[in-house]
C-alpha cells in the first residue's frame, strides 16, 4: 500500500497546479454545501424558536407575520396601535402568565427604540434573564433613560452615561430628530437574539417625547410635563404575551382573529415564522440544488484533470506494469488520486465553510440580531465530506478504466 501512496503522492505533485485548482473547486463545492445546510438549519431554529420566549404577539389588525417581524425581530413596520385598555384587559386575565407592552416608531441611527416596562427585564423574555454589562442598571420607568442592546452599543459606541436623541420613524433621518435626550444607564450583555439590536426605553418617556400624539381615546392627546397621562389616551404598538397554557392561546385566537375586527393575534410565534420559512423554502431549495450542481461540476473537474493527464502518463503506467504492477494497482492509483484530491477539497471545504458562515453570521446578526454559530455541529459535516469523496472516487473511475486498459508493450516505447 505504501507503494500506491508513493505513486499517488508523486503524481499529484507532478501535476501540482491541476491538483490545487481541482481541490479548490471541490473545496468551494463542499464548503458551500455545508454552509447552505448549516445556515438554513440554524436560521430556522433561531427565528422560529430561539428569538423569544413569548407565545404570541397582539397588535393592530393586519398580518401576523408583520406583527412578529416588527415586535420580535425589530424589522418591518408596525401595523398600527392598540388602545391601552386592551393591553390591560389581557394583562389582568388570570390565564395570561405575562403581557408586556411595546411602543415603537422611533430609532437612533437606524436601530429601533422599543418603549416598554421594566417587567421585560425581569422576565426571561429571550429564554434567559437579561444581564447587564458591569456598571449598568435597568431604566427607571419614570425617567428618560435607555438600556442599549449589545449590538447597538458595538455599532453606535453608546455606553453608560451617553446621551442621545430619538429620531422619528424607522429610518434614520437627521431632520426627524425628537427634542429631549435619553441617558444610557445600561448595556445589555449579548443574548444572540434580536433584543441585541434594540434600544429599550420606558413607555412613559416615549409618550412624552415631543411630537408624539396619543390617540387611544379617539382624540388627539399630547402629554404634559408634570401631569400623569390618563390611561384612556395611551396606546401600544404590540403586546408580547405568554399564556398559561396552549388552550388559552387557542381561545384568544378564536376570540381575536376570528370574531374580533380590531386586533390580530400572531400565535404561536413559532408557527408564524415556520409558515414564513415554508413560503421561502424554494429559495433554500435553489441554493441546495446549486450546491449539489457545484459538487457535480467539481467532480467533473477531477475527472477532467486526471483524464487529461492520462496521455502523458501512459508510459509511466507501462513502466510500472513492466516492473510487475498489476492492472488493479494502476486502477487503484487513479482512484486514490481522485480520492485524495476530493479529500483535499473537503479540508479546503471546511475553511470555505468557516469563511462563508462567519460572513453569513455577521450579516444575519446585523440584519436580525440572530446569531448563528460557526462551529455548531450539523450532520452535513459528516455526509457532505463522505459524499464529496465518494463522488470524487466515482469521477476517477473513467480515467482509471482507461489506465487499466492501457497496453504495456506499446507504451513502453518513448512517444515523440
Amino acid at each position: 500500500m505504501s507503494t500506491i501512496f508513493l505513486i499517488v503522492g508523486r503524481s499529484l505533485r507532478q501535476h501540482l497546479l491541476s491538483t490545487c485548482v481541482t481541490s479548490i473547486a471541490v473545496g468551494l463545492a463542499c464548503g458551500l454545501l455545508m454552509a447552505v445546510f448549516a445556515v438554513q438549519t440554524q436560521t430556522y431554529e433561531a427565528m422560529t424558536a430561539g428569538a423569544t420566549r413569548f407565545d404570541a404577539v397582539l397588535g393592530a389588525r393586519g398580518s401576523p407575520l408583520q406583527l412578529v417581524l416588527n415586535a420580535v425581530f425589530h424589522l418591518d413596520v408596525s401595523p398600527g396601535n392598540l388602545p391601552w385598555k386592551m393591553y390591560m384587559a389581557i394583562k389582568n386575565d388570570p390565564h395570561v402568565a405575562k403581557a408586556i407592552p411595546y411602543a415603537v416608531g422611533d430609532n437612533y441611527r437606524g436601530f429601533r427604540i422599543v418603549a416598554t416596562t421594566p417587567e421585560l427585564f425581569s422576565y426571561k423574555s429571550v429564554g434567559k434573564n437579561f444581564e447587564l454589562e458591569p456598571g449598568g442598571r435597568f431604566f427607571d420607568p419614570n425617567k428618560r433613560e435607555a438600556v442599549v442592546g449589545s449590538f447597538v452599543a458595538d455599532k453606535t459606541g453608546l455606553k453608560v452615561g451617553s446621551v442621545f436623541n430619538a429620531y422619528h420613524g424607522i429610518v434614520f433621518e437627521e431632520k426627524m430628530k425628537h427634542p429631549g435626550q435619553f441617558t444610557v444607564v445600561g448595556i445589555l450583555k449579548p443574548t444572540n437574539t434580536p433584543a441585541d439590536r434594540a434600544i429599550w426605553t420606558p413607555l412613559d418617556s416615549f409618550y412624552r417625547l415631543s411630537g408624539h400624539i396619543l390617540r387611544g381615546a379617539g382624540t388627539n392627546y399630547v402629554a404634559k410635563a408634570g401631569e400623569a397621562i390618563p390611561d384612556e389616551y395611551k396606546e401600544v404598538s404590540a403586546v408580547m404575551i405568554k399564556f398559561k397554557s396552549p388552550q388559552i392561546g387557542m381561545l384568544y385566537d378564536q376570540m381575536i382573529n376570528r370574531q374580533g375586527k380590531v386586533a390580530t393575534l400572531a400565535w404561536p410565534i413559532e408557527k408564524v415564522m415556520a409558515d414564513f420559512f415554508n413560503k421561502i423554502g424554494w429559495f433554500h431549495n435553489i441554493l441546495t440544488i446549486l450546491a449539489y450542481v457545484i459538487a457535480v461540476v467539481a467532480s467533473g473537474a477531477i475527472l477532467a484533470g486526471i483524464y487529461n493527464s492520462m496521455n502523458e502518463r501512459r508510459r509511466e503506467f507501462a513502466i510500472l506494469r513492466a516492473l510487475g504492477a498489476h492492472r488493479f494497482n494502476i486502477f487503484t492509483v487513479i482512484i486514490m488520486e481522485a480520492c485524495v484530491i476530493a479529500a483535499n477539497g473537503v479540508l479546503i471545504g471546511f475553511v470555505v465553510y468557516t469563511i462563508v458562515l462567519s460572513v453569513a453570521s455577521a450579516i444575519l446578526r446585523a440584519g436580525t440580531g440572530v446569531v448563528i454559530e460557526v462551529f455548531r455541529f450539523h450532520p452535513v459535516f459528516i455526509f457532505a465530506p463522505i459524499g464529496i469523496v465518494f463522488l470524487g472516487s466515482l469521477a476517477g473511475i473513467i480515467p482509471a478504466i482507461k489506465a487499466y486498459q492501457s497496453p504495456v508493450a506499446e507504451n513502453l516505447v518513448p512517444q515523440s
Partner: protein, 238 residues
C-alpha cells in the same frame, strides 16, 4: 546444468493496418540455463524486443510454451503473470524507462515493490554497487545518461530476479559507457545469481558474452515483414 527458461513452439503475430497477420516471432526451441549469460544478436526489426516481452510475460504468445523453472508462464492469467514478473524478472530497457518524477532510490524501490516487497537497505546497497551512492535522491533528469542506465541496472536487480532481460541496454550510450554498462550488468547478474538474456546488435557488446545466438537462427519469422512492422507500427495485444 539446470534449465531456467525453456521455450517451445513460440509464435507471435501482429495485425497490420491492412488487417494482415504478420508473424514476428516464431521460435521452435530455446533454452537458457540458470546463471547463464546469453546474448541474442539481431538487426533492428528482427523481433528481439517482442521476444523479450514474450519472455517477460508483457505480451501473451499466440502459440507455444514458455517454461520458467518448469512452469508454463504463457498460460498464466494476466494477474499471475504480473506477479510472476514482479518476483522473477528484471528488465533493463534501451531507453532506461526510469520514472521521471522519482528519485534514483525510489526508482529502485519501485523495482522491488510489486514482487518480494520493499527492502530499502538492499536498494541502497544496489545503488552503491553501481556507484550511485551520492545520487540516491537525484531525479533522472539531474543525472547523466550513463548514470541513468546504472539506475536502470540497479532497478532490474532490485527484486532479486532469477532472470534479467536486457533490451539493447547500451543502445543510447557511447562506446566507453557501453563497455562499462555491459560489464556492470554481467557482474551484478553474476553476483546475484541471475541469468542474463541480452539482445543487441552491437558487436562490442556481443563480444563480451560467451554464448551469442543469432536471432535469425532461432526466429523463423520473416525479417523483411518485421522490419516493415516497426516502420509502420501496429497495435500489439498484451
Amino acid at each position: 546444468m539446470e534449465t531456467i527458461l525453456e521455450i517451445k513452439g513460440l509464435r507471435k503475430s501482429f495485425v497490420n493496418y491492412e488487417g494482415q497477420k504478420i508473424p514476428t516471432v516464431d521460435i521452435q526451441q530455446f533454452n537458457l540455463y540458470k546463471k547463464e549469460q546469453v546474448a541474442i544478436e539481431g538487426l533492428s526489426g528482427s523481433g528481439k524486443t517482442t521476444f523479450l516481452n514474450l519472455v517477460a510475460g508483457i505480451l501473451r504468445p499466440d502459440e507455444g510454451q514458455i517454461f520458467f523453472e518448469k512452469e508454463d508462464v504463457a498460460i498464466l492469467s494476466e494477474s499471475r503473470r504480473d506477479l510472476w514478473r514482479a518476483q522473477n524478472i528484471g528488465y533493463v530497457f534501451q531507453t532506461f524507462n526510469l520514472l521521471q518524477g522519482y528519485s534514483a532510490l525510489e526508482n529502485v524501490i519501485l523495482g522491488m515493490a510489486f514482487g518480494k516487497g520493499i527492502h530499502k537497505d538492499f536498494a541502497l546497497a544496489l545503488l552503491k554497487r553501481v556507484n550511485l551512492a551520492k545520487h540516491i535522491h537525484s531525479k533522472p533528469r539531474q543525472m547523466s545518461i550513463g548514470q541513468q542506465q546504472r539506475v536502470a541496472v540497479a532497478r532490474a536487480l532490485a527484486n532479486k530476479p532469477k532472470l534479467v532481460l536486457a533490451d539493447e541496454p547500451t543502445g543510447n550510450l557511447d562506446r566507453t559507457h557501453a563497455r562499462e554498462t555491459i560489464s556492470l550488468i554481467q557482474e551484478v547478474c553474476a553476483e546475484n545469481g541471475a541469468a542474463l538474456l541480452l539482445v543487441s546488435h552491437d558487436h562490442g557488446v556481443l563480444g563480451k558474452l560467451k554464448r551469442v545466438i543469432k536471432m535469425s537462427d532461432v526466429n523463423r519469422a520473416g525479417l523483411p515483414v518485421e522490419a516493415e512492422r516497426e516502420n509502420n507500427p501496429v497495435k500489439a495485444g498484451a
